[in-house]
Homo-oligomer: 218 residues x 2
Amino acid sequence: MSKASDRAYEQIRAKILSGEFSPGSQLKEEEVAEICGVSRTPVRDAMSRLENEMFIYRTESQRSFVSEWSGGDVEEIFTLRTMLERHASSRAAERASEAMIANLRANNAAIAEAIRQPVPDVDAFLQLNRLYHAMILEAAASDRLAMMLNRLVLQPIVHRTALRYDRAQLERSLAEHEEIVAAIARRDPDWAGAVMTSHIRRAYHVYMNQNGITPEGF
Amino acid sequence: MSKASDRAYEQIRAKILSGEFSPGSQLKEEEVAEICGVSRTPVRDAMSRLENEMFIYRTESQRSFVSEWSGGDVEEIFTLRTMLERHASSRAAERASEAMIANLRANNAAIAEAIRQPVPDVDAFLQLNRLYHAMILEAAASDRLAMMLNRLVLQPIVHRTALRYDRAQLERSLAEHEEIVAAIARRDPDWAGAVMTSHIRRAYHVYMNQNGITPEGF
DNA sequence: GAGCAGCTTATTGTATACAGCGATCACGTC
DNA sequence: GACGTGATCGCTGTATACAATAAGCTGCTC
């Protein structure tokens, strides 16, 4: 969107994720406006977006507070993501054009190059990974699905910076990406959906382990 | 939300659904503000909500237009609704408290009474029906699921006023509601999910028939 | 006559002032 | 001392004025 409103959005979001705005604390428009160096108008805009994304919630009297997240929320997000992404890849298997399939393959090749460096380029991996999921979503050709999923995917980035990737995990992720493309190319929605399901579920368990929520290995 | 912003939202939405704001036409904030008798501020609020619900879309230069709907959109909405409501009723089967189950049963009893009048009370049916789905959603205990589903359910009301209900259809709908509650009471998520799936799919086909999109009976 | 430059106008973005509503606290009453 | 009741104040909702940006038009050039 527009500049001031965007900057406000990014800043507030960053402060929530970093903990500077702690869970449960109240966000007052005027106060936030001063911090962001803009007026209340763009702040209100930003806050309504953040409310949609469930970073903040409002009481019945319209006061805003930073959402408090539990392990249950993380589970919920991944469960919904699983359902939606499975559906997206099934649809993609039915609808993707040859050009889209070629693009997916090219993306996977780029990922392979990024992670097979002497020291894997994790930033490049993450970016290409996002792009890959976005391409699947585009191939699914469902605006509403895209909207729901995008809102959801924004969220679990909470502790993302803390995630550690070893080479085996990166390779496994790539192998799944390739299998999904194969399933799409063969026009097999069940296959595509199944691989995507395990792809997301695995990501979920990696996430939970790394955040110490489930102590045992997998 | 607040009063002016809410009224603007309702008015704009109504005018879109009635066709007074025709698909593809531009909505200018000032113009709409005058029509609604409020200032641009609440209109902007309302329009951003409507954008979220995909009633309107914005160009890259931030101008707003009324969305143009196709049969594909309707299919998409029902498909997503099916997936989400199936999930909701499965979760409800795992989590609903005894009190909630009792409430669901009471609701179904109220529906029975409404539709078994000499002339069925369709308005009461529709309201109780909405309540029923809201209760399932509450029992599912997933805020994000609720948010997604609510945004989706708002939409297909497009031609709702045109829907005709005969007694057999109402009875069938009630029977499904009762079966879903039975499945929840038995804590059988697959059963609950399956009945809900067919419940929504049937509604979809009724809708399509009544709007003449699929000519053949079912 | 086609295409581009620059101006004009239409529309959205932001700031600010004021209105309204609910929360909170102080005071009085039982 | 607890609880209701009223006043104060803090925060959000709305209106309006102004700024910025993009679309469209006009007239110029080739």
